[in-house]
């Protein structure tokens, strides 16, 4: 049928071409340069208090916030990066100063900070994390716990140099 421009054959050809292009990295610019930076999440910066102190533990502990920090592009782990953490917990609201703390990544770019149990607030059990030290672009994350009974929550940063 001459007038039928969207037949099975053209769809197959176009589809194959699309897959081939995507595979070669031409569609996603981030692909071309390797690991893409993590974008900030909506609401991630809510109740942020800049300059949370580096602490061994936030409050009485019992819950673990974990994660990794890597560099965009090559994905190299970033040691010594300061990650700020806050949440609504059994010991305070998000806005309360005692709900905020910070930690540094280790040699493998991993961080782990003990904090009080996160409890659902504003409809979801969630935490907040920030990278805001200036060397890389600022990123705010707002991960959600799959269950309010979870004792741990993970968040991963891929940072873009400024």
């Amino acid at each position: 049928m001459p007038g039928d421009s969207l037949n099975r054959r053209t769809m197959l050809v176009a589809g194959t071409a699309l897959v081939a292009t995507a595979g070669s990295g031409l569609i996603l610019p981030a692909r071309a340069s390797g690991l893409a930076p993590t974008p900030s999440m909506r609401g991630g910066s809510n109740n942020y208090r800049p300059g949370a102190p580096i602490v061994d533990r936030i409050g009485g502990g019992g819950f673990w916030m974990t994660g990794t920090v890597r560099q965009a592009g090559d994905g190299a782990p970033l040691p010594g990066q300061r990650i700020q953490i806050w949440a609504h917990t059994t010991e305070g609201h998000e806005r309360d100063p005692q709900s905020h703390g910070a930690t540094l990544t280790d040699a493998n770019g991993e961080f782990r900070l003990e904090m009080p149990q996160i409890v659902p607030a504003f409809g979801q059990p969630h935490g907040h994390l920030a990278y805001d030290s200036g060397e890389f672009e600022t990123v705010f994350l707002r991960p959600i716990m799959s269950s309010a009974r979870d004792k741990t929550l993970a968040a991963h940063f891929v940072l873009q140099p400024v």
Partner: protein, 201 residues
């Protein structure tokens, strides 16, 4: 002394609204919330309960009330609903201003926020329509269709909002109340035949 049947309906209605409120009062989450946050949450729970009463009054489905009494109570419950919405949003604003600003601007990360805000604006519009009814001078059935449509948006938005939230309400009592609200709403719309806007001959 009201007839036993009438009394049973009213007791059932009071229980349907009150049981979810009482059960939410035993939520473990309350221990970790400030009084203002708790009050804001309960204003939401009570507001959901009022949405069960409103369609029943509008369609005069509650026994023992004259048509005029039904309308008067419907008006006062409507005003109470607006007060509950104001307490709910105001209390949450005091608890966490950025979260409420995000919700009001429809840019919140939580999916239930947009449903709640849409329901709020529909409720406000329904009340404005009620307050301006005589001044507007619309034909009654046209006015009723507009008011009922806004009320329907309020109810659907609120039910989705409530069901998606992980909060102080216990899940079974919440789902039951939401089901009753939807049922009452559909029954009232059908009973009044709100879509029929032909003038009565």
């Amino acid at each position: 002394m009201p007839r036993p049947g009438v009394l049973a309906v009213w007791l059932a209605l009071i229980a349907a609204v009150a049981v979810p409120v009482v059960v939410a009062g035993f939520s473990p989450y309350l221990a970790w919330r400030s009084p203002i946050y708790i009050a804001a949450g309960f204003a939401g729970v009570i507001g959901l309960g009022l949405l069960l009463v409103q369609p029943l009054l509008a369609a005069r489905m509650l026994p023992g009330l004259t048509a005029m009494n039904s309308r008067m109570v419907h008006r006062w419950v409507g005003i109470a609903l607006i007060a509950m919405i104001a307490l709910h949003v105001g209390g949450l604003w005091i608890t966490s201003p950025p979260d409420v600003v995000d919700a009001l601007l429809f840019r919140s990360p939580t999916p239930f926020s947009a449903w709640g805000v849409a329901a709020m604006w529909a409720a406000f519009a329904a009340v404005v329509l009620a307050a301006l009814r005589s001044r507007l001078g619309w034909r009654f059935r046209l006015w009723r269709l507009a008011h009922a449509s806004l009320a329907l948006v309020t109810i659907l938005g609120t039910v989705v909002h409530a069901l998606l939230i992980e909060g102080a309400m216990e899940t079974v009592t919440k789902a039951t109340l939401c089901g009753l609200v939807l049922f009452a709403c559909v029954r009232a719309l059908i009973r009044l035949q709100v879509w029929d806007v032909k003038p009565r001959g």
